[in-house]
Amino acid sequence: MKTEIPIEQLLRWRLSRAEAEAPPAPRATRLLALARPWWDTWPEQFRAMVERLGKIQIAYGHAMAEPRPSRGGHPVPALVIRTTEELETSVRVLYLNVRDGRLRLRFQVDAVLGPEQKSLDVTFVCNASQRPVVSASASLSVDSEYRIDLELSEELARIWEPLKVTDRMPFRLILRADTNQG
């Protein structure tokens, strides 16, 4: 039996094996489908979520014994979608900065999310039109906060630039903990 094989021949053999075992390249329609935002892919589910999101009413009633200066901001209604549950809650916007067409946002989810999610898929839904305006991935940061760094469209940047954290936000959020699910 021949035991000495040139390295070039060995590499060619390995390449042919890899080509044979590799999955076929996706078709163009599949690539287009992957590029589409999730609300276009599952419009029915999105509609149901928006309907539910629209029904969340959040307002603080201050019944404090002693008056204290507070700067709580306005809670933003949010719907957390997880594999096992859907949770109506709110988030607190801790940092909001729109500069040079980029949105930098930090927020904290008021509900306890069980095991902390490293990232969340965040969909901004316009309060007025009930339509999705932008989607981004939020990463877990310090103190159970999530942060978003996102490029905005010119129009959105212009509208959101004057916003302050203490203002009522013009959007609601859909937070998807597992983006493989619809």
Partner: protein, 563 residues
């Protein structure tokens, strides 16, 4: 200027907060703000300088020292020592400080450990891990929530209840309970010799009272004994009341200062483990740690109350061996909790030697001994074997349990135990003082009559309208302090008390029934002398008659008007 990059970050944070980009104040959100600034806002120069500062452990330490000594002094809270600890604790988990060796000590906590809370994990039978270290620090509130859990989730209302209880013992009903407990049985700031002298003094007062009550007739020395008794008792009362009033006043002043400070602060309660707390049994440790946090804000020098100083000093020194559990109400009372698994947890922990619990049946020392024995021989408690009647009975010389429970009805009692303020000696002295003082208060009118006798009275009208009676009416407001002695060779001699009489001829008088002697030596019906004598009492005892302060003839008295 050193570490300009940190100032740059700090001012960015302040400006962003002012502009409305940041929700939390620069201090309360410092961790998040730093993360944002370091990722997106720091310039190349800043990043290079930061890298330079973290190059060696020595340069890292220099930054920490600068933060503690200089930066903290130039913030808006130069006197709050907790601010820099908090900042270091927050930054220690963030890049690039999470890689800096010098921050190692600050990663575990803020270094302000208080007494531990016993919080059982889900379905835990009581394990060492259930004894959880609690750190509490007070930061300037800046509009943030006034009490905030960190590292765990808890109902805001329950945390607020613990804060209210702390406020109550600083400046409310709870403080009164604390002072009352201390006055009755609390250790005093006396040197040893004075402590012994005071106890001997009270014993002497008690001895003198007994001597005056059941001793021999004092005669002429009655004044001396009563004067000594009154002076001694007054001196002891003066010392006791002055000490209690002075320390009570200082404790109240200090409590008011700390209560005001607490209102202006945010108390952050840190307990690692990510628990979501169900139930309120952590209320007591949260309350006590809140007090500790408030006391830590400024140096110990700012505390001028011996009581608070002792409590805080002991709490700081012995925090590692204390644990607490108990539901606390807003006015500081404690309610029972599930206790047995918590005691198991403390016994398993090993480091905990003292536990504060609410007063409940299964927290007694006897229950503790039973629990310790049951742990040593599992199953014994569950299946007790009754000893056979004929067999000799065994006595178990059980060793002293290494965990001591302190059962409390109120947070103030827990403070007494924590501060080592409870004193059996003082309780005994106070009990003696209360009994003795009670007797003295009852005896005060008698003592006054002996020491400052009422003026000698004059005989006044009315005289008796009946020939069978002789009335001796006296112009005095203290009839019980006098008596009348009738000496005659015609009439039977008598001794009569002066008593108040009401009606048509109202007066303070002695009424003497005139009874002719069988063998009269004098035929004159007006023969006789009436003496007014002082009477001396002490509580239930009446002494031999005192000095004679008046002398009247029968003829004079019978000629006084009848009305």
């Amino acid at each position: 200027m050193r570490f300009v990059w940190f100032w740059t970050f700090w001012h960015w944070s302040k400006e962003s907060f002012r502009y409305g980009s940041l929700l939390r104040s620069p201090l309360h959100g410092i961790g998040s703000h730093w993360d944002e600034w370091f990722r997106h806002e720091a310039s190349e120069g800043d990043l290079r300088a930061i890298e330079e500062a973290g190059r060696t452990k020595s340069t890292q330490r220099r930054f920490i020292a600068w933060l503690l000594r200089h930066w903290a002094g130039e913030t808006d809270w130069p006197r709050n020592q907790m601010v820099s600890r908090f900042v270091l604790g927050q930054l220690a988990h963030l890049p690039p400080f999470d890689k800096w060796q010098a921050f190692e000590n600050h990663r575990a906590g803020y270094g302000v450990v208080g007494i531990s809370a016993v919080v059982l994990g889900a379905e835990s039978p009581g394990q060492a891990e259930d004894v959880r270290r609690v750190e509490a620090l007070a930061l300037p509130a800046d509009g943030a929530p006034i009490i905030l859990p960190e590292g765990f989730q808890a109902d805001a209302g329950e945390m607020e209840t613990a804060r209210c209880a702390a406020s109550s013992v600083l400046r409310g009903k709870g403080l009164l309970v604390f002072l009352a407990l201390w006055i009755v049985g609390g250790r005093r700031p006396y040197p040893r010799w004075l402590k012994i002298a005071v106890a001997l003094g009270w014993l002497a007062v008690g001895g003198l009272i007994l001597y005056l009550l059941i001793g021999p007739e004092p005669g002429g020395r009655l004044f001396l004994w009563t004067a000594t008794l009154t002076a001694l008792w007054s001196g002891l009362m003066l010392v006791g009341v002055t000490v209690a009033a002075w320390h009570g006043f200082r404790a109240w002043r200090q409590g008011a200062v700390w209560a005001t400070r607490m209102e202006q602060c945010q108390v952050r309660m840190r307990m690692n483990g990510g628990l979501t707390i169900k139930g309120e049994s952590a209320g007591l440790p949260f309350c006590l740690n809140t007090l500790l946090a408030v006391s830590r804000v400024e140096p110990r020098l700012d505390c001028r109350s011996w009581l608070w100083q002792r409590f805080v000093r002991r709490l700081r020194a012995e925090r590692d061996i204390w644990a607490a559990t108990g539901v606390v109400t807003t006015d500081g009372y404690l309610r029972p909790v599930v206790l047995e698994p918590k005691l198991h947890a403390c016994l398993a922990h090993g480091g905990i030697k003292q536990i504060l619990t609410p007063r409940q049946s299964n927290a007694s020392p006897r229950a503790m001994i039973r629990l310790t024995a049951a742990r040593a021989t599992p199953g014994r408690e569950r299946e007790p074997v009754p000893p056979p009647a004929s067999a000799s009975r065994l006595g178990f010389a059980a060793e002293k349990p290494r965990l001591r429970t302190h059962c409390c009805r109120h947070v103030a009692q827990a403070m007494m135990a924590l501060g080592g303020l409870t004193s059996g000696w003082q309780k005994a002295v106070s009990a003696l003082a209360i009994i003795v003082s009670g007797a003295m208060l009852f005896a005060l009118p008698d003592l006054r009559a002996i020491l400052v006798p009422p003026p000698a009275p004059l005989a006044v009208s009315p005289s008796s309208p009946s020939p069978y009676y002789l009335w001796v009416s006296l112009d005095t407001k203290h009839p019980e302090r006098f008596q009348v002695v009738f000496e005659s060779e015609f009439w039977a001699n008598r001794r009569a008390e002066v008593t108040p009489h009401s009606g048509a001829n109202a007066s303070m008088r002695a009424e003497i029934f005139l009874h002719r002697l069988a063998g009269q030596t004098n035929p004159n019906g007006e023969d006789g002398t009436l003496w007014i004598e002082r009477r001396h009492h002490f509580l239930t005892r009446e002494y031999a008659p005192g000095e004679r302060v008046g002398r009247y003839s029968v003829a004079y008295l019978t000629r006084l008007p009848h009305e």
